[in-house]
Symmetry: C2
Subunit: 143 residues, 2 copies
């Protein structure tokens, strides 16, 4: 298992479009799958209005709500692959033009009402890659 540095984590995050936003709802841990893009070192996600994520779209506190964001590409059989977790403040994108540009890039999900765009500033970035274990030398087999 190899720990990944911040730059590699963000690079890997940008290679996939699906992840899970992790937040607190009614004092309980909560998680939802969403689409993302990486822009200017931030994670940008689109969330549906009125859903579990609505509290993130209009945070009661400034400077926003702390969330975690996870994406991975792990083979369920071999466990090879990578996982990245970003932790930071999520803030709604309030500029209408900017929000519209992001919304265009982040296709809405079927059956979901109109949505907000959130920007997550990654204060903490961790990740690991599970690489294949080098095959054992065959010497033992040949005596």
């Amino acid at each position: 298992m190899r720990e990944l540095d911040r730059a590699e984590c963000l690079r890997l995050l940008a290679t996939v479009s699906l992840g899970r936003i992790v937040f607190t709802q009614h004092a309980l841990p909560a998680v939802r799958p969403v689409n993302h893009l990486v822009h200017g070192g931030d994670i940008v996600v689109r969330i549906s209005e009125g859903g579990a994520l609505a509290s993130l779209a209009a945070p009661a506190e400034v400077p926003g709500v702390v969330v975690a964001y996870e994406a991975d590409a792990i083979d369920p059989e071999t466990h090879l692959g990578w996982s990245v977790v970003v932790t930071g403040y999520a803030r709604p994108v309030t500029d209408p033009g900017e929000a519209a540009r992001y919304a265009d890039l982040l296709h809405p999900w079927a059956g979901r009402p109109s949505s907000h765009v959130l920007r997550i500033h990654p204060d903490l970035v961790t990740g690991f890659r599970l690489e294949s274990v080098p095959a054992r030398p065959l010497r033992a087999l040949h005596g």
Copy 2:
């Protein structure tokens, strides 16, 4: 988008072996990918000792720590697929025989030290399935 009932959520969860456990660490939202199995209506996961999940293996409080567990199978392009989120208390499996049986079924991850087995009792089970939108009739094309 179709909401799924508890039985279908647990059935879908059992069709995959990889999910993400969501918990609170130092008052911050945290998430890690793990392998799971579904047994007797509970979610059983194996976690590595000494990692971020260690606090779950020896919870300070009885009856354990509330976690969320998410698994999904979603096409990143079409968004078709499903996602299930379970919320409930996570408790270590303390019976050595039982823990060993589960550990055998939940292959350890490369490079991770010896591990604990956690059982998550799903108090809250939610899930949705995104199904394909029926194709628009071709009448318009044929005039």
